[in-house]
């Protein structure tokens, strides 16, 4: 190991462990400054009895010499302290010959030799929990680490990190107490989720900056999963290299990096099924209506496997949901789909579990997500051109589809108002507004709509034949307010008249369906929506940040969506009544409309997945018990901790900071709150962990290139290497310097006293 600010002379090498502390040498100027200041205070006195000062002059010269010597001594004393703070290192140039360190056999007790600062990084990803025989890689890593720590020379300090998606310190400081290290390793939590070893290395470097020993090591124990090492994230690794290089060039001691790759048995013929994350069409679903849950089962093992999958809602198995999955070929993947109905509104926890006793990795046999079910979603239908009779108006079919008259507890509470009555008052608590054939909006109406969007609501614009092109085509409206997803162009076709024979000018094209709403209605050989024909539509030109969710077979966009803050705006090219096409008669019209309306109503943050470590903030409609109170938050580990519950206007907000663990967090509101169940929040599991495979040799070599990283698949051999590398043979000598400084301080006190006595302090005392 090279030393910063090092030198080599007469068979000895030396350097400084903390050269930045050399700035403290400036303190040597303090005695000089005091001397100069006291000189400045000298007064001039006219004196007659000069002849008696002649001897004094000589005595003074002697005293001056003594003073200068004393001042030099004091400067030297401060210099010594500063030098000790810079932690100098010294040792023979050929340490191998001078102080050989033999590799101790495992379990032979503490090694003699140079003490070191060592950071142990345990890969905490879920794959470390894979059952291999009667143990797991995690257990092997802990056992091996404990054995290594036992063998470290006396004076060594150890810190322990658990590398997860967010690095968790098990011992966040370098600790000299082996008992504490042993205890931390023993109490290491079970592996779960993903791992970020690059972040753990960065944290290790940071911890080692506070080290005192000259020799420094980082020891990573991993199963070599690519998902933990992330070799593809070259920018992060480059940053880490930069951090290492800058520490080295700044003169700080840099560590050796040792990687123990705990191998997996490759000959055992086992299947390993793992679930991918659950995918929902949307995070807000109507209570009582079917909900589709999609995922896939991967076989990460090397033999075919078969599993039984089951769906759980709020930890309760859904009757009849058990499915047989497989057989899945080795490294193969099988899609999995569940349908269920959430009967109660509120937050729900959906889990899919694989049932098998022979799976080697239990951690990936479950996948979970959260969903919110709503009942009676308030929707405002704005009728721009009310019809003369039944189902003649542009919103009549919408209303019938969303809120059937015979349904006592509809999923959507739709209310229709004519355009002139659209106002902040009529909007009320509506979460979605549908503007059907609305010619134009005046300013207060526009503001009322924008308020709904700002609150995370949705807007669906359905064109009519009499739109005001000045309003919808207004550049200012398009650019400044920015909530229109498209500019409206000329129309195509003819609206069906009462006794006419309309001509279909376009059909929906299922191949163009995209986004989270449409694909569910475009699957299969003959999706019903593909049969829907349009008699009339307007040509839309999407704005730059809008997304076309569906097109017509003419190629023109049919449904365009645009996100706006927390809210969403969608625009259709055709109408949703019988005059504009056959859509209202389509079998998928009602489910599609519900899906679209719930999608638009879903606020951006309602079902968002939080990142590990990110502060969780959940807005609730329920009022808080007081301005600031506490709620119980149950972590994925099952621990009950406290979260803040703050009052926010009519509603409230729950805040919780300690979200390092990926999984589902359960916020339990007091019983006084009228809410059917707890609130579930998802903290993202590492998508990388789903990536199978271990680092190959080329990737390992690439990671180890450019810095002293040693990768070894045999942990026992690695332990020998770690303990046998002499590491430059230099030893810290700061303790000796501090002792020397203390000795110097005693001498300084003696010298000062002697000088004071020789100056006749006692004579002065006699006089008084």
């Amino acid at each position: 190991m090279s030393l910063p600010l090092g030198f080599s002379l007469l068979g000895w090498t030396g350097g400084l462990a903390a050269p930045a502390m050399l700035w403290a040498l400036a303190a040597m100027a303090i005695p000089v400054a005091i001397h100069l200041l006291s000189r400045r205070r000298t007064t001039v006195m006219d004196w007659g009895a000069m002849q008696f000062l002649e001897l004094g002059r000589r005595a003074q010269r002697k005293f001056q010499w003594s003073e200068w010597l004393l001042m030099a001594g004091r400067m030297g004393l401060l210099g010594l302290v500063a030098l000790a703070a810079a932690r100098p290192l010294l040792g023979p140039s050929n340490p191998g010959a001078a102080a050989p360190l033999s590799a101790p056999a495992a379990g032979t007790g503490m090694a003699s030799g140079e003490p070191r600062d060592l950071v142990l990084v345990l890969d905490g990803s879920e794959s470390m929990g894979r059952q291999v025989g009667d143990t797991t890689p995690r257990q092997r890593a802990i056992d091996w680490s404990r054995s290594l720590v036992k063998q470290l020379p006396e004076g060594s300090a150890v810190a322990v990190l658990d590398a997860r998606e967010l690095v968790r310190p098990l011992l966040d400081r370098l600790n000299y107490d082996r008992g504490l290290v042993d205890e931390a390793l023993e109490k290491a939590p079970l592996p779960r989720g993903g791992s970020d070893l690059a972040a753990a290395l960065s944290e290790s470097f940071h911890i080692l900056e506070g080290g005192r020993n000259a020799r420094r090591d980082v020891v990573v124990v991993s199963d070599g999963r690519r998902s933990a090492w992330r070799p593809g994230e070259s920018t992060r690794w480059a940053l880490l290299h930069d951090l290492y290089s800058s520490a080295k060039s700044a003169g700080r001691p840099v560590p050796e990096i040792w990687v123990a790759m705990l191998g997996e048995p490759t000959d055992a013929q086992t299947g390993d099924a793992g679930l991918s994350p659950l995918v929902l069409d949307r995070g807000l679903v109507p209570a009582g209506l079917p909900l589709s849950i999609r995922t896939s089962v991967k076989n990460l093992g090397n033999a075919d496997t078969e599993r039984m999958a089951e769906l759980f809602v709020d930890q309760v198995p859904v009757p009849g949901s058990v499915q047989r999955v497989g057989p899945i070929p080795a490294q193969g993947q099988v899609p999995l789909r569940f349908e269920t109905v959430l009967k109660t509104p509120g937050s729900h926890r959906l889990s899919v579990r694989l049932r098998s006793a022979e799976d080697t990795l239990a951690a990936n046999d479950q996948s979970e997500t959260t969903v919110e079910a709503a009942e009676g979603l308030p929707v405002l239908l704005v009728d721009g051109m009310p019809g003369q009779g039944a189902f003649q108006g542009p919103t009549d079919f919408l209303r019938a589809a969303l809120t059937p008259a015979e349904d006592a507890a509809p999923a959507v509470r739709a209310k229709t108002v004519p355009l002139p009555r659209l106002s902040a008052e009529t909007v009320g608590d509506a979460r979605v507004i549908v503007l059907a054939a609305a010619t134009r909006l005046d300013t207060p109406q526009r503001e009322a709509v924008e308020k709904v969007l700002a609150a995370g609501g949705g807007l669906l614009i359905v064109p009519g034949e009499s739109l005001d092109p000045k309003f919808y085509g207004d550049e200012e409206l398009l650019k400044k307010t920015g909530w229109l997803p498209a500019s409206i162009g000329p129309s195509k076709g003819q609206l069906a008249l009462r006794r006419g024979n309309p001509e279909v000018v376009a059909h929906l094209d299922p191949r163009s369906f995209s986004g989270s709403v449409m694909p569910a209605f475009g699957s299969g050989d003959d999706p019903p929506l593909a049969r829907a024909g349009l008699f009339w539509y307007r040509q839309l030109e999407p704005v730059t940040d809008a997304v076309v969710l569906a097109r017509l077979d003419t190629g023109d966009p049919w449904l365009i969506e645009k996100g706006l803050g927390h809210g969403r705006v969608a625009m259709l090219a055709g109408t949703l009544d019988a005059r504009g096409g056959t859509l209202p008669a389509n079998p998928d019209f009602v489910p599609w409309l519900h899906t679209l309306i719930f999608h638009l109503a879903e606020p951006g943050s309602a079902t968002r997945v939080f990142q590990p470590g990110e502060a969780i903030r959940v807005e609730l409609a329920e009022a808080a018990a007081s301005a600031t109170s506490a709620v119980t938050v149950r972590t994925p580990d099952g621990l009950a901790t406290a979260g803040e519950w703050l009052s926010r206007g009519a509603g409230s907000e729950v805040r919780f900071r300690d979200s390092a663990e990926p999984g589902i967090y359960q916020i339990e509101l007091p019983a006084t709150v009228n809410r059917p169940g707890p609130v579930y929040v998802q903290v993202g599991s590492d998508a990388h962990e789903a990536e199978p495979g271990r680092l190959d040799e080329a990737e390992s070599a690439r990671l180890a290139d450019g810095w002293p990283m040693h990768v070894e698949s045999n942990p026992e051999a690695l332990a020998g290497q770690i303990l046998s590398v002499p590491g430059g043979g230099t030893r810290p000598i700061w303790r000796w310097l501090v002792l020397l400084a203390l000795l110097g301080l005693c001498l300084e006190v003696l010298a000062t006293r002697r000088l004071a006595l020789s100056r006749g302090i006692t004579v002065a005392g006699d006089r008084s």
Binding site: S38, W47, G48, M50, F52, L53, G56, G760
Partner: protein, 311 residues
């Protein structure tokens, strides 16, 4: 002058140090001397010529043997006879005006003190009709006023004293040698100086004076700071006799040496003067001139020729 009405020394309504500021040396010395005389029971200086001059009323301090009993018989009041005194005492006041005499610490300067003391002595001696002369010097003998007894002579002396200013470096011994050569008639030489000179040379000069049969009184005028060297913080000492001579010293470092050397010098001077039967008194500028005079006269009346006792 009615000496009975004079207050005791030290209680004078005219503080001599206050008057000194006005340079009225004549008045000052009168006050000092009258104050001193009123405290004595016996006149210290005895005239020996007995040519009758006049009667005057008896007062404290007058000797009983001088009461004219015949006059008492006639008038029933006490009168003493006053005589025209003849004197053969010729006193020379030698006031050192060298640079070192200019030192003034927390008191008046040494020269000022010497000046007041010289004027008081002159007044006292002229009053008893002794002839008093004055020599001031720095590098040279600055002025030499020949001794006279006339009452008006006192003013001349005072004027000369008032004009005296501190000058440069003085080899006191040289000046005294010159004085010894100049003064023809045997006299009484009173030296007011700090005596900061080479001790050997100084003693040699004093011996020269004694050899010429002069009575010698050496009043060594010293400032308290010179005797105690009380300085603590570092000081740059500038030679009063040679302005370019500067020395930066830590007083604490040199105090011991200084005091040893200073005491040795003073002790040596006193011993040498005692050995040559000359009179020596150390005078501190911290002690008022009247007190100095009183102490000196008391010591003289007691027969002490010389001593290191401070007066």
């Amino acid at each position: 002058m009615d000496t009975n009405s004079r207050p005791a020394p030290g209680n004078s309504p005219f503080d001599p140090s206050t008057l000194a500021r006005y340079g009225r040396l004549e008045l000052l010395s009168r006050l000092v001397v009258e104050g001193v005389m009123s405290g004595l029971h016996k006149s210290p200086f005895k005239g020996f010529s007995v040519e009758f001059a006049e009667h005057r009323q008896y007062g404290p301090g007058d000797e009983i043997r001088h009461i004219d009993w015949r006059a008492y018989g006639k008038t029933d009041r006490y009168f003493v006879k006053e005589f025209e005194e003849e004197t053969n005492l010729r006193a020379y006041l030698v006031v050192d005006t060298s640079g070192s005499m200019g030192y003034a610490g927390r008191t008046a300067s040494k020269l000022e003190h010497a000046r007041q003391l010289a004027a008081a002595l002159a007044y006292m001696m002229i009053k008893q009709r002794d002839a008093v002369g004055l020599a001031t010097f720095d590098t040279e003998v600055r002025s030499l006023v020949p001794p006279r007894t006339a009452p008006g002579h006192f003013s001349v002396l005072c004027n000369t004293l008032e004009r005296a200013e501190v000058g440069g470096e003085t080899p006191l011994s040289q000046v005294l040698h010159k004085m010894a050569g100049r003064i023809q008639r045997r006299g009484f030489v009173i030296i007011l100086s700090d005596g900061f000179d080479n001790l050997e040379n100084l003693v040699s000069a004093l011996r020269h004076l004694r050899h010429r049969k002069h009575e010698v009184l050496f009043l060594q005028v010293l400032a308290p700071e010179e005797e105690e060297f009380p300085f603590r913080s570092p000081v740059q000492f500038r030679n009063l006799e040679r302005g370019d001579d500067l020395v930066r010293l830590d007083p604490a470092a040199v105090r011991k040496t200084y005091l040893e050397k200073f005491q040795a010098h003073c002790r040596g001077l006193a011993e040498q003067l005692r050995a040559m039967r000359a009179d020596y008194h150390r005078v501190s500028t911290a002690v008022p001139p009247d007190q100095v005079l009183l102490n000196y006269l008391a010591a003289r009346a007691g027969g002490s020729r010389s001593g290191e006792a401070r007066v």
